[in-house]
């Protein structure tokens, strides 16, 4: 691309601008909405000139939502904490279970290994609604409904296949002979896994963990059905803004801004790993 003409540069610039506008505008608009009251949001025609207010954020942080019908108690901050805890714990459990499993699938040939790996992957493309009803009944019977443990367990349906398949691809990319060389130099199987395989697959594991975190964070339907208010993450908690007296668009917008901040920050921080992970791993973007 050394000889790009001016025309090409202009065209490319325009195209990129359009794409950015298309994808970033909703986020930009939500950001603006989060500083407005319902009246300014809903006026026709819409305008980007308004008196900014922090009332939406105050309501979210204090947990007191003033509506036309009176003051509502909301637990947004609790939801945010739930999201953080559920996602982080799910990813932690997913990594502990998934990384050794991915290593086994990459390195060992055993009867049915491909079938097992594929079954695990199939959890990703089965619609959650398919399993929700039986899962709800089971969970109520064994006392896992409405517990963090139960939710983290169900979240493994989301994070485990993702981690398994991305990390497996990474392990497969490491030449087995490097590990053999380490083992023959007097190290056990376990030490080889820790000192050679894990560090070399590090970027992949980081990318898989990050992606799994985002997927877990964005989950809605499992938490909606299996958890009650005090265990629900923000994705479900945002439903509280649909009140008897109308939808509180301002608070919804502020809620969205607050809830995308952690994943946004995480993604920015680890962008490099994410791109590498998606382009090298088994599961391509």
């Amino acid at each position: 691309m050394e000889h790009t003409s001016t025309l090409e540069k202009v065209l490319r610039g325009t195209a990129i601008t359009l794409v950015i506008l298309f994808f970033m505008f909703p986020i930009f608009w939500i950001f603006l909405m989060s500083f407005q009251t319902n009246e300014t949001i809903l006026r026709v025609p819409p305008s980007i000139v308004f008196d900014p207010t922090l009332s939406n954020y105050t309501a979210l942080i204090t947990g007191k939502l003033d509506t036309a019908a009176g003051t509502l108690e909301i637990s947004f901050m609790k939801n945010l904490w739930n999201s953080l805890f559920l996602s982080a714990a799910s990813v932690a459990v997913g990594l502990v279970l998934g990384v050794p499993a991915a290593y086994a699938f990459a390195r060992l040939k055993f009867r049915g290994s491909e079938d097992i790996a594929f079954t695990l992957l199939s959890f990703r493309f089965a619609p959650p609604l398919l399993v929700l009803l039986p899962l709800t009944i089971y969970f109520q019977q064994i006392g896992l409904a409405d517990t963090y443990l139960g939710l983290i367990w169900v979240y493994q349906l989301i994070v485990l296949p993702l981690i398994l398949w991305i990390v497996r691809g990474y392990f497969e990319d490491i030449p087995a002979d490097v590990e053999y060389a380490y083992r023959i130099a007097g190290h056990s199987w376990g030490a080889t896994f820790r000192k050679i395989a894990l560090p070399l697959a590090g970027p992949g594991i980081a990318a898989a963990g990050l992606l799994a975190f985002i997927f877990a964070w964005n989950n809605f339907v499992f938490a909606l059905v299996l958890a009650s208010a005090d265990k629900q993450p923000v994705t479900v908690g945002a439903l509280a803004f649909v009140t008897a007296s109308g939808i509180q668009y301002g608070q919804v917008a502020a809620g969205i801004v607050l809830s995308i901040l952690p994943t946004f920050a995480l993604a920015l921080y680890a962008q490099r790993y994410l791109v590498e992970g998606l382009s090298l791993g088994a599961v391509k973007g």
Binding site: R183, A185, G186, S188, W189
Partner: protein
Amino acid sequence: MSETMLRLENVDKFYGPIGKGVHAVRNINMDVAKGDIIALLGSSGCGKTSTLRMIAGFEETSRGKIFLSGREVHRLPPVKRHVAMAFEGYSLYPTVNVRDNIAFALKAAKLPEAEVASRVRDVAEMLEISDILDRMPNSISGGQQQRASLARALIRDADLHLLDEPMGQLEPQLRTLLRGRIKHFIKQRGLTAILVTHDQTEANALADRIAVMEGGVLQQYGSPAEIKERPANLFTGTFVGEPPMNVFPVTASTVGDKLHFDLEGGLDLAYASNAFAPDVREAILKRGRVMVGVRPYAVRRSEHGPAARVLTNQWLGDQSHIAAAFANGNLVLVEHDRARVGIGEEIRVELDPADLHVFDLESGKAISHGQELA
């Protein structure tokens, strides 16, 4: 008889279920004496690398036993076998530089730093990689990586050193130089080494004994001279030697006091009966139809003898390779002077009975080499 370092006893390797999977290594029996260099020689897929990996412990033996330094090791993990290995794919640790790669095992064994440094220096000088010790593996060439990998194996104190195609990536000049140095290095330290190669020159130059493998079967195990002069079967005879041995089927019979070999295409080789020892003659005549082999260097042009028509004549700078149509097949002969024969010209060849290798037509097993029974 020196001490046995390695013993393979009826070793079998199946990839897949025993009896059903791919039978990569078939019932190998082999003893390696301490201090010897052994070459596993064969074409790709012959089972030589599988054998090496079973000795290292990366592949399980399907059947049979492996003894190393008197210990039964075939059930042990690699870490407990006390072997060193240089890999065909180099397999350097990508996160540390060449020096640390080479010194890795010595450092892990907590050897004094000064000793580690001096040993790294010695082996690096020997392999001409002193100048790249501080580089990272991904910044050096394939040939350099291969030498670093070889250094990492040779520096170790192990019962057995396994070298998988250790010089495949090196340029010919360097290979010739390093062959000599590596052999000296191994011998000087009294190491025992097994080298996997498909390069005959390498096997001949480095090894005390060569194990020729084909189809998972150990075809012959002997010194380079034995392999060359007394090939155990048709495969070894034609596989080892460059250009390959000429072979053709003949029907043997006695007429008067002559032993006749009737070739295909109506040709006939006639020898005085006493040109062969009685037992050799008897063994050949008992079978009637046999395979006769003769090395290209041993074929001579002469005034009489069966005729051949020249197909090509190439001067390689130090020798002539002549290929000729002969007895419904081809015959190759090598001459050390520039041969003045044109394509299409008829030549006559003489085959000295002392140079003939006779093989059983069905089994391929050698019957005789010159005057001696195989």
